[in-house]
Amino acid sequence: MKAWLGKFKSLLMLSGIALLLAGCGKENLSAFIPKGPNAETSLNLIILSLAIMIFVFIVVMLVYVIVLVRFRQKKGQEDYIPKQVEGNKTLETIWTVIPIILVLILAVPTVTATFELADNSGAEEGLNVEVTGNQYWWHFNYQGQEIQTSQDMYIPVGEPVYLNMASTDVIHSFWVPSISGKMDVNPENTNTMYIEAEEEGVYWGKCAELCGPSHSLMDFKVIAVSQEEFDQWVSDMQNVDPEAQPEGAVAQEGQSLFQENSCVACHAIGSSPVATGPNLTSFGDRTTLAGVEEPTKENIVDWLLNPEAMKPGNKMTGNYPELTEEEASSIAEYLMQLQPSEITPEDAGN
């Protein structure tokens, strides 16, 4: 008995230490540190349900420990036959009724919140973004604004943004834990949800539905900036000149390689709705390369030379002419200069 309790204690301590070390996770990623009303609603329900459950657990454990301490077979009493109790109506009623009450306490706010979060009535006047999930990248079309971006999604802080989401291939799931719970992105219908960030920041987004080998590499960002900054970003993005010449001979070489090598067939620059591959308009401002890598020139060259090594199963591999290292380097130089807006992730206080 003693040994049993001791082991249980050490187990509790170990997990406790583990938790302390890990804390509540990383800010702007963890659902424990909500930065938007939806995530707050979820967290409140999590805390409420956890509180109820901890209460139940304590009651169960209390009885459990008493049972184990008091009713172990004692030495010399091996032949003792306990009273054979059939049941007890009162007790059984109690532990039927109390759980019903506890469940009701949880059910009411759950239902209320469910309808609250499904309320899309502000969508007509609000900012609407068409979100498209692809293996393995995200595309954002700001509806009625002629703005297309991929991977990084800019939103104004403190305002609900209405998302209309569909997939071009398999099911994905749109999840930005610190500002909202997730919603599946299906190929056969458009799902709607809204997100709102209460603070400026660069929020991590993740795909939460298994979508192929690179499922874990399909990260994206939601970048919440102030309303003025957002307006600035919108006007910058609307006035992009896709043909603008980059600075420096290498980058210019890169630009022509980009056009000659049929990169443009899949990758649009500017507000063209072509979206076979990620839109590269503001590639130079992206927080990451291919969802998870540092956007350094070296990494971009590596990507161009062998995308499969960075993102297994991606749709770019084998669909463009082979590049020399020099060519890849020029293209990278050009791409890194694609910084059409004054507003960058830094403005969100990364």
Binding site: L14, S15, A18, L21, A22, G23, C24, G25, K26, L29, S30, S42, I46, L50, M53, V56, V60, M61, V63, Y64, I66, V67, L68, F71, R72, Q73, Q77, P82, K83, Q84, V85, E86, G87, N88, T96, I100, L106, T110, V111, T114, F115, D169, V170, S180, G181, K182, M183, D184, E188, T192, K206, A208, E209, L210, G212, P213, H215, S216, P312, G313
Partner: protein
């Protein structure tokens, strides 16, 4: 045909005996061996997964292989390990508990086993034939339709075969319990393990056909160009999710209810008290099963079904907490006032109570839709279902194995090793999965091949992997215990634990006809009643007379081999039409075996009264 004679025969004869057996106990043992084998495979896959997630951005295995690992781990553990192990226990124990000589359909029982086993082998053939399925154990369309290679084809055919086997097993148990209970064994005198077998079989009967249809649709889409899940031709991939979870949620109860049954046997035995609130326990089981069919969409809260559907399914799901709570408290009340003996079997049962309570609690938390938008498809869910399926089902299976091992094999498992294995596994389990609740909410979705550095997920994953290794070592010690005990284990008496139910009233291991004379049941816990009244022996319900027994048959195996061959034909006919021959040959073998079965009369054989009398001593 006595057991002594069996042991004296050569290995070939024994093999033939097992290949053709229709004896429920031998088929049960086959299920245990098959399920145990796949459990090891699934465990190995789990270890590989945890090695990959030991450190951030690890490249121990490739992304594609990782997806194959998680798919096969889940599929193997659910369909080929947990369920067959439970079916094996039911097969051996349930007929003994109701005082029957065999099951209602011994031939089908054998067929059910072979379908399961060859289905599992078929699925695992994929490892050697171009790659295992990689669309997750849930195999969501359209990912599963688009998955290249033949991996998912093996998933479809393998599960179709083993699913058919399970369905046959379910029907067999249902009929057995309805028609073959010993005199006096009324429904409300049946042991809880028999009750849960009964309810589980009903769940199998009504849940598996939905999976069958889902698998057919996937098969037609992948192998025959149908358009069920092809959006371009008007298809709808959500249908797969509905069908899968209409099956999948009851499946959870198919797994957990028998484990509940196991605990309802072990806790009273080792507390020397009858089960508290027997009637409530029975009705709670029925209620859980009934509600189990109405909650499937809680797996689909984020699909976009709308707030009305989400709210309804949320409430239905929460309602399941009520009968489950009743069970937990009744178990506690069973022990209250008892005289508790703790051995390995009881340790597993005791560990189950807090562990499963946590799993049940997180289940209620998951039912809260808006909270679920955060939990869904993250490690929180992974933690939850491992608390339920390991903490509930695997603990249950291990408890049951320690408890019934003497009855099944005639030897008692080594206690010291049993306890070491328990502590390692138990501590390892909580280390592995408790932190995963937090990992999920900290932003780690499930089925992630790598997690990134600097996202606060490193420590949790490291702890989790260390725990997994402890579980692995615990599992290995259990395996060593089995091998050691089958050679050197203490011989078991008929009733080593001071049992209460009928299986302890016959020899360990039981003779092949179970009971020389059918027992007369005079109440709940019939053996206990006789012991309390000082007799210690069950009163027979009939005079000694000849016993009718079924003949063994090789046909179930042949039939299954036919389906096995045909499955390869279906899988590969998309590559080359010549494979159609395999379909024809396979189906001809299977149908030929069926035809033989129906044309050849099989009346079984009789054990004469004289022979029974000779065997008396």
């Amino acid at each position: 045909m006595s057991s002594a004679a069996t042991q004296k025969r050569g290995f070939g004869a024994m093999l033939w005996d097992y290949l053709t057996t229709v004896d429920h106990k031998k088929i049960g043992i086959l299920y245990l061996i098959g399920g145990g084998f796949f459990f090891l495979l699934g465990g190995l896959e789990a270890m590989i997964i945890r090695i990959q997630l030991l450190v951030p951005e690890n490249d121990f295995i490739s992304a594609g292989l990782y997806n194959e690992m998680i798919t096969m781990h889940g599929t193997t553990m659910i369909f080929l390990a947990a369920m067959p192990l439970l079916l094996g226990l039911m097969n051996v124990i349930m007929p003994l508990q109701i005082g029957a000589r065999d099951v209602a359909f011994p031939f089908l029982n054998s067929l059910g086993f072979w379908l399961f086993f060859l289905g599992g082998i078929l699925l695992n053939c994929s490892w050697f034939l171009g790659g295992a399925p990689d669309a997750g154990w849930t195999s969501y369309a359209p990912l599963s339709v688009q998955s290249p290679g033949h991996g998912v084809d093996f998933y479809v055919m393998g599960l179709q075969l083993s699913g058919a086997g399970t369905l046959i097993g379910g029907i067999n148990f249902l009929v057995t319990i309805v028609t073959m209970r010993a005199p006096g064994m009324t429904y409300m005198r049946m042991p809880l393990f028999t009750w849960t077998t009964f309810i589980t079989s009903i769940l199998i009967l009504f849940a598996f056909p939905a999976l069958t249809v889902g698998l057919f649709l996937l098969m037609f889409d992948r192998m025959m160009g149908a358009a069920f899940f092809d959006v371009a031709l008007g298809g709808n991939a959500i249908i797969w999710q509905h069908l899968f979870w209409i099956f999948g949620h009851p499946e959870v109860y198919i797994l957990i209810l028998p484990a509940f049954g196991v605990f309802s046997e072990i806790l009273p035995t080792f507390s020397k008290k009858r089960l508290f609130g027997y009637t409530a326990m029975v009705f709670a089981t029925i209620l859980i099963a009934f509600l189990g069919f109405m909650v499937w969409a809680h797996h689909m809260f984020t699909v976009g079904l709308g707030p009305v559907a989400n709210a309804i399914f949320a409430i239905a799901t929460m309602a399941i907490a009520i009968p489950t709570g009743i069970k937990i408290f009744n178990w506690l009340a069973t022990m209250w006032g008892g005289s508790i003996r703790i051995n390995s079997a009881m340790l597993w049962a005791l560990a189950f109570v807090p562990t499963f309570t946590i799993g049940g609690m997180t289940g209620v938390m998951l039912a809260s839709t808006v909270a679920d938008y955060q939990y869904h498809d993250t490690y929180f869910v992974v933690a939850h279902f491992h608390y339920v399926i390991v903490g509930g089902v695997v603990f249950g299976i291990l408890a049951a194995l320690h408890y019934w091992w003497p009855k099944i094999f005639g030897r008692i498992l080594n206690e010291a090793m049993g306890k070491i294995a328990f502590w390692l596994f138990f501590i390892g389990f909580h280390l592995t999965f408790f932190v995963q609740h937090f990992l999920g909410l900290m932003g780690m979705p499930r089925r992630y091949w790598v997690f990134l550095e600097g996202q606060g997920l490193d420590t949790g994953n490291l702890v989790s992997s260390i725990g997994a290794f402890l579980m692995g070592i615990g599992g290995l010690i259990f395996l060593i215990n089995i091998i050691y005990s089958s050679v050197k284990g203490e011989k078991a008496s008929a009733d080593p634990w001071d049992g209460r139910t009928l299986e302890w009233a016959t020899a360990s291991p039981p003779v092949h006809y179970n009971f020389k004379q059918l027992p007369l049941v005079r109440g709940l816990d019939p053996l206990w009643i006789e012991k309390m009244e000082g007799k210690g022996k069950i009163t027979p319900a009939e005079p000694l007379d000849e016993i009718h027994m079924p003949n063994g048959s090789i046909l179930p195996l042949i039939m299954t081999i036919g389906f096995f061959i045909a499955s390869f034909g279906f899988i590969y006919q998309t590559d080359h039409k010549a494979w159609l021959i395999a379909i024809y040959v396979g189906m001809a073998i299977a149908l030929g075996a069926m035809l033989t079965r129906s044309l050849k009369d099989d009346h079984g054989y009789h054990i004469s009264k004289e022979e029974l009398e000779r065997e008396a001593e």
